[in-house]
């Protein structure tokens, strides 16, 4: 059982790799060439490795956001929009922080990110708690709205003074997170991400609030029966989830891009679902799975140069890994029989009702 926790994701990745090889053959590319280029691009040099960590960073933040929400069975598909909301607010604030010292400017940036993300997540939470609006749909819709607001902002009010390109003015030097490992873009925010992962772990598994959240995830009705304030917990959890993603957005602006671009997120919020699921919604494991998916993203660039296969292949891998992992995890393999047998043949009256916990 314990071994399965690690073995299953690894087996899922290997099976996904085999399926990917088939897709590559269909495309007329060499699977081994592609895998080699992926590996070289992700871990081949020190610089490549640090860039893998840089690519992993937003995935840690969004992965934590997804894990916190999913632990409560709140299906936050909106980490992307929440990250963009946080980044937009931080990117709007950044240029105004001239002459601010680091010690004030950076916390201000991060606070802006938290505020933006928490608002975006909180709206979905409030809609779910008070208006009974399915959070899956509301968070997806909020993704589209956030992306368009960011686009409108960098074409309009936040556009750089020269108005040459759709990007915002650079943030003040004080608001920039230092790069101590130049020329690599690795920075201290990775430490923040790891610390947050530890914090989320402690919150989920060592606090009463975390217990209530997980109870909510297991059984909403029973949680209500035991006096857990469902509505408040729903709003608060999605706001917290959004805050984590928004913080990731602010970090991205503060440490990496130093300004806002229309295409800030390549879909980290969606990728984070794979990150969180492969990690079994365990915050500590998310650091590792984020690095794995960050390596894929980073290696994909090299793969395109070497083999001419588009980096969107990574999405095929993500989708397959999630599906295979789901299939490996299910306790309902008996359901397969009915595919082939036409009508179900399992005797219905054999199992006591108490055993029904799947």
């Amino acid at each position: 059982m314990k071994a399965g926790i690690i073995a299953k994701p690894i087996a899922a990745v290997i099976l996904a790799a085999a399926l990917i090889a088939l897709v590559l053959l269909a495309l007329g590319a060499s699977p081994f060439g592609v895998m080699g280029a992926l590996w070289q691009g992700a871990f081949g040099t020190w610089l490549a490795f640090t860039e893998t960590l840089v690519k992993a960073m937003p995935l840690v933040f969004c992965g934590l956001a997804v894990a916190i929400a999913f632990q409560g069975a709140l299906w936050n598909i909106g980490a992307d929009g929440q990250l963009i909301a946080g980044a937009t607010l931080a990117g709007a604030l950044g240029p105004a922080l001239t002459h601010w010292p680091h010690l004030l400017a950076i916390p201000a940036m991060l606070a802006a990110g938290v505020a933006g993300g928490a608002t975006w997540g909180g709206v979905a939470g409030w809609l779910r708690a008070r208006r009974d609006v399915n959070e899956i749909i509301s968070t997806i819709m909020l993704n589209f709205v956030a992306a368009q607001i960011l686009s409108a902002a960098v074409h309009g009010p936040l556009m750089e003074p020269s108005r040459a390109y759709p990007k915002s003015a650079p943030i003040a030097p004080g608001a920039e997170l230092h790069l101590y490992f130049a020329p690599s873009r690795l920075n201290l925010a990775m430490a923040l991400a790891v610390a947050l992962a530890a914090g989320c772990y402690l919150f989920l598994f060592r606090t009463r609030a975390g217990f209530e959240l997980r109870a909510l995830g297991r059984n909403r009705r029973a949680s209500a029966f035991f006096g857990i304030p469902i509505a408040r917990l729903t709003t608060r959890t999605l706001a917290l989830s959004g805050a984590l993603a928004g913080l990731g957005g602010a970090v991205q602006v503060s440490a990496i891009t130093h300004r806002l671009y229309e295409t800030l997120s390549p879909g980290w919020g969606y990728e984070a679902i794979a990150v969180a699921l492969v990690a079994r919604l365990n915050p500590l494991a998310i650091v590792a799975t984020a690095i794995f998916f960050g390596a894929l993203d980073n290696g994909a660039q090299a793969m395109q140069r070497a083999e001419g296969v588009s980096p969107v292949l990574v999405q095929v891998i993500q989708g397959m890994v999630i599906m295979i992992l789901l299939a490996f995890d299910t306790s309902a393999w008996s359901g397969m029989r009915t595919v082939f047998a036409g009508a179900p043949t399992v005797p219905a009256a054999n199992t006591p009702a108490a055993a029904s916990d799947a």
Binding site: D132, I136, I137, Y270, S310, G319
Partner: protein, 303 residues
């Protein structure tokens, strides 16, 4: 101006309506299909690709339907037989579809820069009806898929509320255990529903590339599948309600073109956000899930 707006409204409503009708059937059976966006996208790409290489729009539409059915079959295997989380499996399907269509699109058309386009399905004017002022072109000068989509509304409404099949669907979605006890095969009912929905979603995707846009761009479905999910809620799981909601969202999408063309100072991105913001607003007002099938989203495992 108004005539063009109405015509555009119906044209924009059609893919949403087709997908939402399929989703209504699926949700009746107790499954929520978040992968609908991915099915639509695959239908759009593989349909156009088939039409492009074969030169036949009919083959293209068949390929679009087949691609979406294949994706829904994969989903059915996961959520019906293996009883995995419907939300997560559906999301995985969306990501997979985005990747698959992107990889094949760039491989086939990205490098050569060849125009990936076909002569679109042509509108058929229904005689003098098409010349009725204001509403004529919108209602009676559209292509065959538009007519089919709206003709399906009363058919599906009738089947869902009056036929034995509708009753079985409802049983599987409301009380799967009870349905099973009555000798119904819940697995088979949910499989069938997903395959039917796949066909409708494939039509929606094929419509996007072969009737509406005449070409493919990555992510061309642009959230229409997700909007269809919202449309089912707003339409209260009723085919007529779904049709009305589809037209409402179609008008929001058409409005964005009308407003862009009018040259206002408001940034066009805010118009692009309009259908999604409208979805949120409408759900906030009518959002309650009280009419939803009781077992919606819950995996059923036969004991």
């Amino acid at each position: 101006m108004l005539e063009a707006f109405l015509t555009s409204t119906i044209a924009m409503a059609t893919p949403i309506l087709l997908a939402a009708l399929g989703e209504t059937i699926v949700e009746y059976s107790g499954v929520i299909n978040i992968g609908i966006e991915g099915s639509m996208l695959c239908g759009a790409f593989f349909g156009l690709a088939a039409a492009y290489f074969s030169g036949s729009l009919a083959l293209g539409m068949i390929a679009a339907v087949a691609a979406a059915i294949a994706l829904n079959a994969l989903l059915a295997l996961l959520v019906v037989n293996l009883a995995v989380s419907q939300v997560v499996a559906g999301t995985a399907l969306d990501i997979l579809a985005l990747g698959l269509t992107g990889v094949f699109y760039r491989r086939l058309f990205g490098i050569t820069g060849k125009a990936f386009t076909v002569a679109p399905i042509r509108p058929i004017a229904l005689g003098p009806l098409a010349h009725i002022p204001v509403v004529g072109p919108a209602l009676f000068d559209q292509n065959v898929i538009v007519y089919a989509a709206f003709a399906l509304v009363p058919c599906i409404a009738g089947v869902l509320s009056r036929s034995r099949y509708g009753l079985e669907l409802r049983a599987a979605g409301e009380r799967p255990e009870a349905a099973d006890a009555l000798g119904l095969n819940v697995y088979r009912i949910r499989w069938q529903a997903l395959l039917i929905a796949g066909a409708l979603t494939g039509l929606a995707g094929g419509y996007l590339t072969m009737a509406y846009a005449d070409t493919f761009v990555e992510g061309i479905s642009a959230g229409r599948g997700f909007v269809a999910l919202a449309v089912v809620i707003v339409g209260r799981w009723n085919a007529y309600g779904v049709a009305a909601a589809s037209v409402l969202f179609g008008s929001a999408m058409a409005l964005q073109f009308a407003l862009q063309a009018s040259g206002t100072a408001i940034p066009y991105q805010l118009f692009l956000a309009l259908p999604y913001a409208l979805t949120l607003a409408v759900l906030a007002i009518f959002g309650g899930q009280a009419n939803a099938p009781s077992a919606l989203g819950e995996p059923y495992v036969r004991r």
